[in-house]
Each structure stands twice: as C-alpha cells, then as structure tokens.
Symmetry: C2
Subunit: 351 residues, 2 copies
C-alpha cells in the first residue's frame, strides 16, 4: 500500500493506492457514519453486492452508465435524494465508479449544504490516474464539456487495482490514454512506459503505474490547485484538440481522443520545431501502441471551432500544451485561424 | 471611502465602503473587460440606465425580483446566457442587486468554468451588511433554503449607500434585522445602535453602520471562512428559528424573520438563565424598535420541525446561537422535542 498526501488551500486529501486498499481503508473511513453512494448501472451490476456488504444501510443512487449522465438534471436528482435521505454536512458521500460518477458526485458533494465530505473510490483506470485526484468536479451543459463545476477536494481517495480485473480492454485503453499523457509530462513515467511497452495491459503493471501517475498529479495539484499559474495547465496536454474532436466526432472513448489529440498536437509541435528527434518518435510509438491507427479527419475546421470553448483559453487564443523534451512541455497559443491551418497541415501529413 | 481587505484560503477579497465608491471603483475594476451583469427586475427599473451608462456593451440578465428566483432553474438560465455570450474565465461577472441576485450570481460565478471572477455591487442594506461579503453563495431547492451552494469569494465588493435613497422603508427594515443581529455580536455596534436608536433609518447613519457590520463580518470570515470552527456560526444568531418561521409562515421579509427569531431565541436564553438584566431588555428594545410587534405563532410545532434541515445542525441536534452579554454569545443544542417545548413556552410568554 502506498499513501499520497495533498495539503491544499481548500482542504487536505489522502490517496491510498494499491491492492487491498478498498477493503482496508474505505470501510475505515465509512465506519459508523451515514453514507450516500453514487454509482452507475455498469458498476452496480458488477459490484452492487460488494457495496451493500461493505456499506450496509447506505443509500445508493445509481445513474445510467455513460457521459450522458453528466448533466445538471442528474446532478439535481442526486442532490434531491441526498436531501430526502437526510444527509447532513457531517455525513459521507461516496463516489463509486468511473470518471462520470466521480465528477458528478464530486460536484454534488461540493454543493450540498456548501460542502459535504466525499470519498472517491475510482473503479476505472482513467478515474484512478486522472479524475479522482485533484478536486476538479463538473457536469457538461448544452454540449460543452465540464463547463459547470468546482474545485473541491475529496478527503479520501481509494485507488485499488482489484477493479481492473473486471474492466473491459476498451476501458483500460481509455485509461492508458491519460497514462501516456503522463509519459509526456514525467520522465520517470516515460522511461517506465517504454521499458514495459509489451505489457501495458497487465494488471500488475497498471497497479504500479497508477501510483506513479497519481504522484505526478498530486505534485502538480499541490503547486496549482485552482489552475491559475500554468502548472496544472500542463495536465491539459493533448486535451484541447482531443476535447474538440470528442465533441465534434464522438464515438470513441475520452482516452482515445486524448491520444488522438496528443498525436495531432505532437505533429504541430514537430512542424514548429518545438519537439523532434528520437523523443518525438518514441512518443508517437507509445501513442500508436495504445491507440492503433490515428483517424484522418475531414471537417477539421468545424471541429476546431469547438476548441474556442475550452476553459483554458485566454484572450481568445487557443492554448495547446505540447511536449518538447523528456518531462518538459511548452505552451503554444494560436488564433482560431492559425489553429485550423495547423490542424489541416497535420491532417495532410496523416493522409 | 473605507477599504476592508480579506485574505482567505480560497482567494482575496476587497470591500470598498462609502458614498461614491460605486462611481469610482466599479468602473475601475470593469475597465476594458468583458462584462456580464445579473440584476433583478426591480433594480433594473431603477438603475437600468445607470448600468448601461457605466458598463456599456455589458450583457445583462434580469431575473424576476424576489426569493423565488433563487432556484436551480434560474441558475442554469444564467449559466446558459454566460455561455452564449462567450464569457471566459477572465471575464467579469457583476451581481448588481440585493441578496437574491448576489447569492445566485455568486453561485453562477463559482460554477462557470470552475470559477469566474465576480464583483458584488449590493444595492440593499441587507446585501451590503450581510450576503455580499464572505463568499457564501446559494440557491434554494425543494423548499429548503440555501441547500445548494458554495463558498466562493467575490474579488471586489462595492458597498455604496447611494442606493439606499431609493430603497423602500420595508427594505431598510429588512436590512436593519441583520444590523441588530450584529448588535448582539459586537459591543461597539450595540452601543452605536442604542445611541442612535432614534435615527436608525437615516441614510447617513446607515452608511456608517454598514462599514461597522462589514468590518465585524470580515473578521469573522477571516477566522472561519468555511464555517467549520464555530466562529462563523455566530452569524447565525436568530437565524435557526427565523429561517424555520420564514419557511413555514412566509409573508414577511428575511430581516423581519431574523428579528422574530432573535426575539424567540432571546426569550429561550433568558428563561435558561444564559442572558438577562438590562442587556436582555436593551436587545428586546432594539428588536421591537425595528420590528414593532412580535407575532404570536400557532402551529409552532410544525414550524419548528423545519429547523431540523438547517445546515448548522450536527448529530441531529438543533443549534441556537444566543446572546449572553455585550458582544458575547453562546450555543445551545436541543433535540427537536426540547426545541418545540422551549418555543411553546416562548409563545406562552408572548400571548
């Protein structure tokens, strides 16, 4: 078991990582308290029994699996059920599931009576390495991802690789999208990924890399909780373009779009002379190893236009975080016109 | 002009107080930025022209005046308009109006892209002395007041007494409810109120007392931003019973209910020997001077039951903050049964 502590302006957070932490720590935190659990229909099928054994008497709200549940209506349903079940500020909300469950339950916790305690129990690789740590909560609204949300730290995060055993390969690949992103941010993770490129899907390897990714993210969040000084923004690598494509084309997973976005943005960085050589080739290799073929998009202009909604943009410029060398990144700021031109060149190269 | 600075974990806040600060500071903060203003139908009738002169090109969202607008539907309308008008994180939201406008716009600011900058320009006495400072934001939901909300600091508060000139006497009385509450919390304000009891409605006096109240509140918020260590809870004096009556009976203003709640809770404190003598008599005199007659309620049991929803309650006990001596308060915790019995005795005394 490994433990990572975050001391933040808005409160402290403890992350427990490793096989067995679910059994040991989630019960300890929940012991003797009034519990309200948010989970989704897929996770409930697999772990409903485990949950009712571990947290008997808990109120459970099951939302339909999938990103579509991440909307204000579902958020209000959760808050309504919390009120009806008499949850107080000192009760405990548990987010048991993937990123959607974590994001919407995190937002519900931050809003309920101006802040109820939440424990995140992420069951997917994506949620463990990314969304469950760092306190970003959100729902989508009118087609814009994460446009309604807060910064609100979970008091406890329990990241147990036992849940990966029931995770479909597609979901592992989705999480690997973010893991590869960490590879572009952290030299240690980069080396580890290259060295283990043949066993990226092994549960043992994943259990190990989850800890490394959370450690990296915790350090980032520690120096820039509210995403204001540029440090946390680096986690957005691949996401500006990834989000825009995800919104416009849809169909693939978030992690797939992160990889696709990373690939396009890497081509832009190489073309501009920011990144290159063996390092750029290795990153491409890692991306392709996980994602397989990178789609050659038409309608790239319309897709690109959706990037202007990104929260990270300032003064109307579109911001891309691109890799430049091992563990190092740079920010490129482009007008929409420049961005479209760069993407069109990248498409040309992929054709 | 007086200036009060708050340095808080979630960010810094500056309050400008006094005649002329609207003209001087609100323009300065807004200069050259993209502006979105939330206001209500009453304020818009009176100051719509002023607003469009001061903040030309601003997008203005007018919500119907009154507490009923403080709901999740209106919140989403505001967020939707913010999106449609292309607001970014570095744009400026302005809450221009009373407590309802400040609370809902504050919540919208805290949620929009996980936090947009907000300037509070409170136009009522109630909003100036209470809701605009300290970062509590909220909407009501399913009949429960402020059950959905956040802690989110306005970067700037502009509290100008010029707005009191158009404020109906009823609204001044409403704000005086909170002012008298500060009298029970702060010896300096208490003395000032007693000394000026004949000119409580004078705009000059109000301009002065607003600063004293904000100064008191700022010190409280500074030592307990997130309402966790008991200091901020003192601001709840009169509110547990006031809120319950407001919910159950309705019809009068929030400030009236604070005064009614204070009076009932004062009777409880006196009966329990916590408060008494000339001090208790003076507080009663101040309350009656502003509120006039205190209503003798029937159905007190049903009204009291609504107090169990109060966020301040822990372990199922109802919490009352009551005055005990000049500038000093105490907390009483009661079961629902005890609370009902105490209220019934108070009603008996009022009959």
């Amino acid at each position: 078991m490994k433990k990572i502590k975050l001391s933040l302006a808005s409160g402290d957070s403890v992350v427990y990582c490793g096989e067995g932490v679910f059994e040991e720590y989630s019960r300890k935190v929940a012991d003797g308290r009034q519990i309200f659990i948010v989970t989704d229909s897929n996770v409930n099928k697999l772990y409903g029994n485990l949950v009712s054994t571990c947290f008997c008497d808990a109120e459970v709200k099951v939302i339909p699996a999938g990103e579509r549940s991440k909307n204000p209506g579902k958020l209000l349903e959760i808050l309504d059920r919390m009120m009806k079940s008499g949850m107080r500020r000192d009760s405990l909300l548990i987010a048991f599931g993937g990123g959607v469950v974590g994001d919407i339950a995190g937002l519900a916790a931050s809003l309920y009576m101006r802040g109820a305690e939440i424990m995140q129990i992420p069951t997917t690789l994506l949620a463990q390495v990314d969304s469950s740590v760092g306190g970003k909560t959100a729902v989508d609204f009118k087609g814009v991802k994460n446009v309604i949300g807060t910064f609100y730290q979970p008091k406890t995060v329990v990241a147990d690789p036992m849940f990966f055993k029931t995770l479909p390969k597609k979901e592992i690949r989705c999480g690997l999208g973010e893991v590869v992103k960490y590879g572009a941010l952290d030299e240690y993770i980069y080396e580890k990924l290259l060295k283990n490129i043949s066993r990226l899907y092994s549960v043992d390897f994943l259990g190990e890399i989850v800890y490394d990714c959370i450690r990296h993210k915790a350090a980032v969040v520690q120096s820039d909780e509210r995403d204001v000084n540029g440090v946390r923004k680096t986690l957005n690598l691949g996401h500006t373009t990834g989000h825009a494509f995800e919104l416009f084309y849809g169909g693939a997973s978030h992690g797939d779009y992160v990889l696709i976005g990373m690939y396009y943005e890497l081509l832009i960085a190489v073309k501009r002379g920011i990144c290159g050589g063996q390092y750029a080739e290795n990153l491409k290799k890692l991306i392709l190893k996980v994602k397989g073929k990178i789609p050659v998009y038409e309608d790239i202009q319309k897709a690109a236009e959706l990037a202007v909604y990104d929260k990270k943009n300032e003064k109307g410029l579109i911001s891309l975080i691109v890799p430049c060398a091992e563990g190092k990144t740079e920010e490129i700021r482009l007008t929409l016109g420049e961005y479209i031109a760069e993407l069109e060149e990248a498409v040309g190269e992929l054709r």
